[in-house]
Symmetry: C2
Subunit: 272 residues, 2 copies
Amino acid sequence: MTVFPAGQQFQTEGECLPSYQVRLACRAGQADTTAGVAPGFVQGNLAILPEKYAAAFHRFCQLNPKPCPIIGMSDVGNPQIPALGLDLDIRTDLPRYRVWRDGELIEEPTDVMAHWRDDLVAFVVGCSFSFEEALLADDIPIRHIERKVRVPMYRTNIACTPAGPFAGPMVVSMRPLKPADAIRAVQITSRFPSVHGAPVHIGLPQSIGIADIANPDYGDPVPIAPDELPVFWACGVTPQAVIAAAKVPFAITHAPGLMLVTDLKNKHLAVL
Amino acid sequence: MTVFPAGQQFQTEGECLPSYQVRLACRAGQADTTAGVAPGFVQGNLAILPEKYAAAFHRFCQLNPKPCPIIGMSDVGNPQIPALGLDLDIRTDLPRYRVWRDGELIEEPTDVMAHWRDDLVAFVVGCSFSFEEALLADDIPIRHIERKVRVPMYRTNIACTPAGPFAGPMVVSMRPLKPADAIRAVQITSRFPSVHGAPVHIGLPQSIGIADIANPDYGDPVPIAPDELPVFWACGVTPQAVIAAAKVPFAITHAPGLMLVTDLKNKHLAVL
């Protein structure tokens, strides 16, 4: 788990960061996708749980760091996460939320002020947008970005290590790459363990329980050329799927593709 | 290119290194394979050329560092390479040599004292034994070692960058690995650029001009299980094939599998 030290490492005066501008726009009601927004800044998946379930979920993330790399979390009942952004309010600063009761999606509001409680704990989990930026910067083409669709994602037969009520299969995202690019992509994404790190699988989807690569369980299908291999990364949809399956009495997540934009820089996540 | 600083970094007194013992045995006439000999110590491919061709060959290695990573070289006419080993004499310290005239193999002696000339330059090129040790240490099984056969090697359609008379296709070695092990193997071997580094290809042999994976051009075939991918590394046989194809008037190489054992440690080659 990567929890960044709390503190005021962001300027409170002077220039307003693009990431902060996005959060302020969300706070004012903007509800668009965050794909391509505030380039260079880390975006994160959100999971908010009552304290009663937070410890088990935290342990689940600890045990499954590839799909659930924690990049920040709140104190109990505190909607701020200063380590992730100036003036950040987790209740208002995402474009859209999903509110869950007993595993059922009951609402998709643009803020969760009405749902906030003193016993809630917010977890922010790393997102593939960060490593995709590093791949593109290395001239590795990414099919779903070229085609302006969502990345294809699949439930696998790779079981996450369970913790309390949280259990289920790892969800993976897939990017078709030429073999030499796949090797380079392993090197590049290995530098970013806090945003899923190296791939979990290459080349043989049936080996990880994916029967039909043309029919992803989430996102959109993309074609794979004869000279390409499908390359699979652990995906931040995993914790959301696990929370829904656990049917906890109450939970809040982000709406897919509408993430928290933080003041962290993607490049600063590189461990090497 | 990695040329280690010359000097007496090896103890001249006290314990005799296992690598030095191997060289002394070779000097006394031993002519066995060096596979598995002096574990932990770097072994190298040998190429000896007249000064007239040495500069072009050196440039060839510089331009093709993945198949031809130089780990040491001699001064003109000097049979010692102090940076690679105590008391090392390149004319006697390998188990067996190949002597070439105009691209023809004319002799396979156990020393080349009779062939030595004042205009010769010796190049020592990194060898996959070093990274195989790192893979095994990480519990990644290597098929040809389990089966006690030679690694399968293939000529590819990947052209080396030519230099002077030296040109030709890259030769690669192949190890079948489960996809998760293949990803791990990319990480591990990326740490060792001076012994071929990361793989050059994964999974689609026909893409690099290998028509029949069951019929290697050098070494022995090994089976690939349905849940494995063939993983290909640039191979130190490349410079030997290129020297033969160049039909230079005179050259000396090691006999396949009977390498120079140096006093360098494999683990010290890791760049990270």
